[in-house]
């Protein structure tokens, strides 16, 4: 059907970020061993405790099995064929200032639409740029430091703020958490670190831009964000990778800690290379993200727009420990061609009067398979817990699939848990109606998809909403009305 083809056009545009940067890289040989971990740790000049933690994770990992419960299918990964560290040469410890950053790298980020020159930056956004295994630049640091906000690469935080790192690292996602998180704990190379002190409202959007460049290399970044009492921070994460015909592994860990009355908003626009139309290549995006609402009245929200990756496996969740704490998860996941996504969230209610909201929008096209997997767990202590979950799926064409796996576990009779799910197709009549009003079929599909995702897109900070809408092939909605 011509209409299906038209519909597909919207979702199958060329991947525009597939280029490779020619740059000399300092990397370790492929394979994983204690020796490799020691090498990574030495390259990063890490203190003893950090190395110990890595090694404990590694030993634990050796005893673990790769999980198979997710509704995704891929050939066995050879963990000895992956290179666990690769950094642009001479940047082992990160550049001190932008002037020291290799111009080739600056050009790379410019091509990606992320200029790192502060004067050219989007007003109100500070960026940490992670290239393969290391952070290459962090902008607006001084301005933030005046407010007592630490925003730097994880490696640097280990050196400069060891007490904070030691206190919170692994406090939300312990090194023994799961196969991929444990692997990350052993070999993680860099990532971002944020600390917002008591009572400070971070005036900038903080963001990390992840880029995989090197061949046969995995990216294992680790991000830790701590919002101290009464503070607020909004954080954005974006990612791209070159087009390669071999799959690459990305196993990241993100930990968020919100203390009393603090709020963290974490947004992701994930656009890793999804593989080609036949399903060759693409990133395996196996990520563990979790936030802990440790303090009373604390809030954590996850918003994600997942359009890339060959396989996405991630469940950003919230542990609602503090009384009256609130967790939220807003997700759009698109699978097209042979992409697979098994994504959702975990909301663990521990404190009293804790609230969680889940809004998941899955869009499947081509041969894409899209699964929502969500757990809502209300412990005995969680008096008056409330959860609302909504999972909507949109199918385009007849070769794709949508699946929903909700798990509810309620141990307190005062809890109220609601789950709604729907599944729909884009109707020919909807497209015709739009066309009759002058919109092209492509614009019609974009408009309908945009409408479908509206609840999630409106949660994104403005700067990212634009990118996300472009990603979904739609024009900006909401500027009117």
């Amino acid at each position: 059907m011509s209409k299906d083809l038209k519909t597909m056009d919207v979702l199958t545009r060329e991947y525009p970020y597939g280029f490779v940067t020619e740059i000399e890289e300092d990397s370790v040989p492929a394979g994983l061993s204690e020796g490799i971990i020691r090498t990574i740790s030495t390259k990063k000049n890490e203190p003893e405790w950090m190395l110990d933690w890595r090694l404990r994770a590694y030993r634990q990992w050796l005893t673990m099995k790769e999980p198979t419960w997710a509704n995704v299918h891929y050939p066995q990964i050879d963990y000895q064929a992956i290179r666990y560290y690769s950094a642009p040469k001479g940047r082992g410890e990160g550049a001190k200032s932008l002037a020291e950053v290799d111009p080739e790298l600056l050009r790379t980020y410019e091509k990606l639409g992320i200029p790192l020159q502060e004067r050219e930056l989007l007003a109100g956004v500070a960026v940490d740029a992670v290239f393969d295994s290391v952070s290459v630049a962090t902008t607006f640091r001084e301005k933030l430091e005046q407010l007592g906000i630490y925003f730097c690469s994880f490696s640097e935080a280990v050196q400069r703020y060891p007490d904070l790192v030691q206190k919170y690292l692994g406090s939300v996602v312990p090194y023994s958490d799961n196969f991929f998180a444990t692997l990350n704990s052993a070999v993680f190379s860099d990532g971002s670190f944020v600390y917002v002190p008591k009572g400070v409202r971070c005036p900038l959007e903080l963001s990390t831009y992840f880029r995989i460049n090197a061949r046969e290399t995995g990216q294992f970044e680790r991000t830790l964000i701590i919002a101290d009492q009464g503070s607020y921070v909004s954080y954005l994460e974006g990612c791209t990778a070159p087009m390669r015909d071999r799959n690459q592994l990305h196993a990241a860990v993100v930990e968020l800690v919100a203390l009393d009355d603090a709020e963290i908003r974490y947004a992701t626009v994930q656009n890793w290379y999804p593989g080609d139309k036949e399903g060759r290549g693409g990133i395996y995006n196996f990520v563990t993200k979790r936030g802990k609402c440790q303090g009373v009245n604390s809030k954590i929200s996850w918003t994600q727009v997942e359009t890339g990756s060959a396989i996405t496996w991630k469940y950003p969740g919230c542990i609602l420990m503090g009384d009256n704490s609130t967790g939220a998860f807003y997700s759009v996941a698109v699978t097209n061609n042979y992409q697979q996504a098994d994504t959702g969230t975990k909301m663990i209610h521990i404190g009293r009067n804790t609230k969680s909201t889940i809004v998941s929008k899955g869009i499947s096209a081509g041969h894409g398979q899209n699964s929502y997997r969500g757990m809502v767990k209300v412990l005995k202590s969680a008096e008056n817990a409330r959860n609302y979950s909504q999972c909507d799926s949109l199918l385009i064409g007849d070769k794709c699939g949508a699946h929903t796996f909700p798990y509810l576990e309620v141990k307190n009779s005062t809890a109220r848990v609601e789950h709604e799910a729907s599944i729909s197709k884009i109707g020919d009549d909807q497209i015709f109606y739009c066309q009759q009003r002058g919109l092209s079929a492509e614009d019609a599909v974009s408009t309908i998809i945009n409408g479908f995702c509206k609840q999630v897109l409106k949660e994104l900070p403005m700067e990212f909403a634009v990118e996300a809408r472009k990603l979904l092939g739609v024009s900006l909605e909401g500027s009117v009305g």
Partner: protein, 266 residues
């Protein structure tokens, strides 16, 4: 403006329109009446370019150009507007946003500058008032949860904003109470102009008390069985469609002849 010769249409091999001839000139209002299943809605949808029908015709031209060769959105941008009998819901897309996209698609096709959000808002508000459409309705998702009457008024509102050259109104009166009917009729009458043609498709004569047509055509069994002035509508109201049944049986249903000017869209 619109010239139709031997227009036939079928769906899944089942003929619905069997050779329609019609001429519509600028400034005219034509009413197409007929019993249920006579092909009225199909006729309206075919003119707008719905691609589920197999369409055959000797000629269908709009301002001298072959209409059947145009994609639906091009027809819309060229000035053909169809008010749907059953307006479609599009969840999450605000009425106002959708309308601005539509108006700008038409404007840029006509070489006019696009309207920005602010300009459009004030333009839309002004037009909305006359149709009893408030701000809340402008901001709601397109047709989602609208009552039948709201949907119909919203179609008229869209027509007003899009300023078509040829407006086709498919049963815009059905399901309306008398107050809503008056609002819709006023909206249509406000559109009458020497440059614009209007085709009103309706089952009942009721709407034609308010929107007085220049010509009335009766469609039965996929063809126009009688044409006349506005008095024909009165006559129909009085005698019912059964009155024309014998005329219908007189003209034998002939098979649609394949013609050289064949346009098939699927």
């Amino acid at each position: 403006m619109l010239r139709i010769r031997k227009l036939s249409a079928s769906i899944d091999g089942k003929p619905i329109l069997r050779g329609i001839d019609l001429d519509v000139r600028a400034g005219e209002v034509h009413a197409i009446m007929g019993p249920n299943g006579s092909g009225k809605s199909t006729f309206a949808q075919v003119l707008a370019g719905r691609d589920i029908y197999k369409v055959v015709a000797d000629e269908v031209t709009f301002n001298g150009r072959d209409l059947l060769q145009m994609a639906p959105e091009i027809r819309a941008r060229e000035g053909i507007f169809l008010a749907f009998q059953y307006p479609i819901e599009i969840p999450g897309v605000s009425n106002l946003y959708f309308l601005r996209a539509a108006v700008n698609a038409v404007r840029s096709h006509r070489g006019l500058p696009e309207l920005d959000a602010v300009d459009f808002m004030s333009y839309a508000r002004e037009q909305a008032k006359a149709l009893g459409i408030d701000d809340a309705m402008l901001k709601r998702s397109l047709n989602e949860g609208f009552s039948g009457g709201e949907k119909k008024r919203n179609e008229i509102f869209q027509m007003t904003l899009l300023e078509p050259r040829l407006a086709i109104l498919d049963e815009s009166d059905s399901g309306l109470d008398i107050d809503a009917l008056k609002i819709v009729a006023d909206g249509i009458n406000a559109m009458r102009s020497p440059e614009r043609a209007i085709i009103v498709v309706t089952h009942y004569q009721r709407l034609l008390n308010y929107v007085v047509p220049d010509y009335v055509h009766v469609l039965a069994g996929g063809r126009i069985v009688r044409s006349g002035g506005k008095e024909l509508a009165m006559e129909l109201e009085e005698k019912g469609y059964g009155w024309l049944e014998h005329e219908r049986s007189e003209c034998k249903p002939d098979r649609a002849q394949p013609s050289k000017n064949e346009a098939v869209t699927s």
